[in-house]
Every structure is written in C-alpha cells, then in structure tokens.
Symmetry: C2
C-alpha cells in the first residue's frame, strides 16, 4: 500500500510502504475512506518539532474494517468506523473516569495518511455507525476523530454552560469546531478571536455572536469591553503558544475556566499570575472516545456540520500539496481521498 512519510521540514512524500497487519489480538486494520492533514502536523512540517528520520504521518481517520484481532468484538469487517487520534482500552480507571486519552494502554495514532491503517486498542477505540453513511457526512465524521472532538473537549474543559459567555482563541479547525461546541453546550454569547475574513465568516456560520480581530493586550481589552469589564466565563484556548495562553487567562473572569487544547509549545504559566487571576485551567489531549457516540449522532441528524472546516480536498497521493496549502494558510484544513 502507499502512505505519507515526512522526511524533514517541508519534505512530505507519498510512497510504497508495508501493508499494516494485525500484531496484537486487540488490533484492527481498516481501509481508509477519508483522512486529512492536521494543524498539529505542521509543527513537524515546519521543523518546530524535530524530525529525526523518515516519519509516517496522520492521526485522523474513518474507514472500513478489513480485519480484526481475536479480542476485538465491538466491530467487524465491512463496518464503517470512526476512532480517536488517541487509542484506548476504554476499561482502565482513567478511561472509566472519562479520560480515555490518558488510557494506561494509550497509543497515539501516527500512520493515518495512508491507504490502510492498523488501529491498536481497536476494541476500546473504534465506534461503528449503524449503516454505511452517505458521502455528504464523510467530512464531518472524519472531523470527529480529532478536531471536532478536540473542540468539544475544549468547551467541556472550559466548563461552558447554558447562558454563559465563551471566548474562542484560535481560528484554526479546532477553534472553529470549538465555536460549534460552545453553541451546542448552550453558550449565549460566543466571541471568536480571528483576523482572517474567511475564518471569521465560518465562525459566525457556526454560531459566533461576536468577532474580535485584535490580539494581545488589545484583544484582552476588547473582551473586557464586551463583557462589562468582567471577563468571559469560559475561554477555549485552541492554539498552544505563550501568547495565546496569556490572552486566554487574562480574558477569563475570576472563577471562570480556560480549556487549553493546542499542544503547548514553549509555554510556562506564571504561578503568581494564575493565582491572582482565580482562573481554572485544564487541558490535554481530547478524550474523543468519550464523545464519539453523541457526536456521531449530532452529525448524522444534521445538527452539526464540522466538515465545513475542510476547504481543500485532494487525492491522497497529492498530500504534499495539502501540507503546503495549510502551511501557506491557503487552506484551513485539507481533506484527502484515497
């Protein structure tokens, strides 16, 4: 089969690779239906995260089950399945507490921009749909495996509640999905922080009630203005830089919460600043598995349409162009079809 391999900064190749096989009784192998490029893939693509050798890429997937190990009884060959970028047994204490992405058997997916994929912990990771979904739903179902699940988690970690005011820092795919999540969880006011017109429009289409283009101190001042000087109840930090984290904390009211879901790069939170802010902080890799049944239902009933974050679709063998378009911000997110 063929799959995507990153050889170094900017050097993405689609090439012949070994067919994935069942290695453990809890594995499954799926045939990829659609996959995509993630904003977080760009950390390595840009050289911010080191690339030490040829590295298979991709952690988002929906597919048709080809083969399952002897202990996988939740899905069977021929079924359409969705899973999280973080695999889990779904039975350990962390899983039972709703933190499947901290599963004691967790393995992060990393080979999904390929024609076939081995899924470790398939028994606790994959969720099958009742039927083969219509093609129109594929982008949104794919989005659940990471960006929509992560946006949902950002809103949960930020404790968005009905009637509350939520701010979303970051207008990438996760931030845009965070707007969807805030709306679904009942936020009355949703302020999207975005400087890009096309993304602002999508944020508004997803439910944002206000858009703030300013950043840093000006951005914080605008949020304070919009909230009568109080600050937001919930802030979804969907970037992962020092600046975005500071902006998130400073935009939150005392007693409010920041959910941070962009993997922090060079971020150190000052203890005394956090102390006097009275802001609660929780982040981490999204426990997507916990949300999949509910989110699949929201997609298939047409309630949410996170697939709109894909603004470029390419054949899988043109994956290199998919990275390039996102790196140059010509695309929010690239969908890949094998």
């Amino acid at each position: 089969m063929r799959g995507t391999v990153l050889y170094g900064p900017g050097d993405v190749r689609f090439e012949e690779r070994a067919d994935p096989r069942i290695l453990r009784p809890t594995d499954a192998v799926i045939r990829t239906v659609v996959t995509c490029v993630c904003g977080s893939d760009l950390w390595a693509y840009r050289g911010t995260d080191p690339v030490t050798g040829p590295t298979p890429m991709g952690h988002e997937y929906v597919g048709i089950v080809e083969e399952v190990g002897s202990e996988v009884t939740n899905v069977k060959p021929g079924q359409f399945v969705i899973g999280s970028f973080a695999t889990s047994d779904n039975t350990c204490p962390h899983c039972r507490a709703g933190y499947q992405s901290s599963c004691v058997h967790r393995e992060f997916m990393s080979t999904c921009q390929a024609e076939y994929v081995r899924i470790p912990n398939a028994h606790g990771t994959l969720v099958a749909t009742d039927d083969l979904p219509a093609e129109e739903f594929l982008p949104s179902l794919l989005a659940l495996s990471d960006v929509m699940g992560t946006g949902w988690w950002a809103a949960k970690a930020a404790e968005v509640e009905p009637g509350s005011t939520a701010v979303v820092v970051g207008d990438g795919a996760v931030g845009l999905c965070g707007v969807i999540a805030a709306k679904e969880l009942g936020a009355e006011r949703i302020i999207a922080m975005s400087r890009h017109e096309s993304r602002q429009k999508l944020a508004v289409a997803f439910g944002a009630t206000d858009v703030v283009a300013e950043r840093g101190a000006d951005g914080i001042a605008r949020i304070k203005d919009l909230t009568d000087g109080v600050g937001a109840d919930s802030v979804l930090e969907c970037v992962g830089t020092k600046e975005s984290m500071q902006q998130a904390i400073a935009s939150t009211r005392p007693g409010g919460n920041v959910g941070f879901v962009g993997v922090p790069h060079d971020v150190a939170v000052d203890g005394q600043e956090l102390f006097f802010s009275h802001v609660g902080l929780r982040g981490g890799p999204a426990p997507v598995r916990a949300y999949l049944p509910d989110l699949i239902d929201r997609v298939l009933t047409g309630r949410i349409n996170p697939g709109k974050v894909f603004d470029l679709t390419l054949p899988l063998d043109q994956v290199a162009e998919g990275y390039k378009a996102m790196d140059e911000r010509r695309a929010v997110k690239t969908l890949l079809t094998p």
Copy 2:
C-alpha cells in the same frame, strides 16, 4: 494605640502608632480581641519578599466593633465580628460569583497585629456573631479569617467530593485546615504529606487517614502506591513553591484537580507537563467571605476546631517572639492576645 511593624528581615517591633479612624463611609474600626501571625508573614520576615520600609503587619482578626462609617449597616458598635484577610463589597460581579477575594474594591488587610484596626469595605466584609462567643471558641473563629477559610477554599478549588481521595501537600496551618475541610466535604481517604511528628498527629486528629513523609519523586511514588497507581482525585497545594506544585500535579489522577492556595513564589507551570497530566488547576486568595456564615456555624456547634493549629499563645506585645518561634519551626502558628 500600639501595633506591629516590620522594619526589615527579622526586625519586628511593637510600637506606638496612630489610632485608626473612619476614612470612608464603608469603613469600620474594631478593637482586636485576638490576632495572630501567618505563615505568609514569614515571606517578608525572612526577606524572601522585599521590605522597602517600615511595614505594619497582620491580616487575621476578630474583634469588637468600635465605630462604623455611615454606609455600614450590617454590623454595629459592640458586636463581635469576623472578616476576611481580603476585604470586599460583596455586591460586585466577582463577589456575586463567589469570588469575593477578587472584588473590584478589594483591599488586603495588613495592619491587624495591633490593638485597633480599620476595616475597609466593612459593609461587605464583616460578619457578626449572634452573641459574644465563649472564650474557648476564639482561636477557631480567628482561624476562619484566613487559614481555615483558605484550607476550605483549597478543598473547594480541588473539587473534593464525598467518597473521594484527597492529598494535602503542606503541613502548615493552612494544610492542616485543608485536612479539616477535606473531611467535612466528605473525602473518604485523606493523605497528609508531612515530615513533622507533631503536625502528623494533628493531621490525623483532624481526619487524615494516611500520612506520607516522603517528598518529591518518592512522595509522588507513595501517593501512586496508595491509590493503585491512579493518583488522587483532589490535591490541596498549601505551600507555594515550585517543588510543592510539581508534587501536587504529579500526584493527581487525569481528570483530577489541584487547588493551590499558597501564594506561588518563583513558580512556573510547564504547559506541556500540565497538558499531558489532564489535571485541572485553580488557585488564588481564598474567598473567605463566601464561607464565613457556614464556617462560623461549624465552629460554634463544635463540629470543627481549627483553633488547634495555634500551638503558641503570647501577649500581643511579644509579637516578635511569635515570629521567631514560627521562623524556627518551634510553633505552627502563634496566637496573640492584646
């Protein structure tokens, strides 16, 4: 009147000072019944926090109202009152959200180791008891104005729930009060981290079910051992150093919470570490005002006895010895009687 002034590291004097007066219509002046020395006073006493000139000291107090400003209608001269170390109007949006210690009119108390004290925002800060309390209750009522209120807040911020496992990092007065709070909030298992035998005993008397003497990596390993490898649901961080914060986060299970209430000194939380821990973090100065009515009731009904943290009582004019004893760890906390 006479009051306590810190002139420099180790230089505490009890000397003649101007009588406090009503400066604003929301002020009150009280005659101190008992006051005390706080662990946090030692930051300045030891020179860790800079002392730029003669500095009046003390932020914990109970007293008899002498005089009130024209807008103070909640208490009247002759009443016995308790208030928080952080004053508040109790009506601003932050107060209404339960975060009185972030009140927009907040002033921190700082002159309480004295015979008389001016209380700013008295209208939103002071709570009177129905009657003059019996002498035996004075130490516990005094403890409410900071350490017991702060221990309570640590447990609330760490989201202690009935049946949960709580760890308390720090065996100072706040940590010991944190044990009381965890027990009152229903924690089934309370692990006190303490190396000092007398404090261990008090922790057990207050409700600790286990004591861990180890610190750092060894301490974390012991907590993991005691929780079947999972980590604690709630950790009360009652110290405020880099080491105690790391220990707290690493002892918490994914999805658990750290409440941090020691003012952080030179603490920076690594973003990526916090991210992958899945731990929620909330700290700040305790909103004591929110808890006072409930805690006064628990004291006067004999349900809790936080006054036991005072293991040294001195006349107020011997305040310097009170500091010295705590600095040298001969005392957990010094009660001062005018």
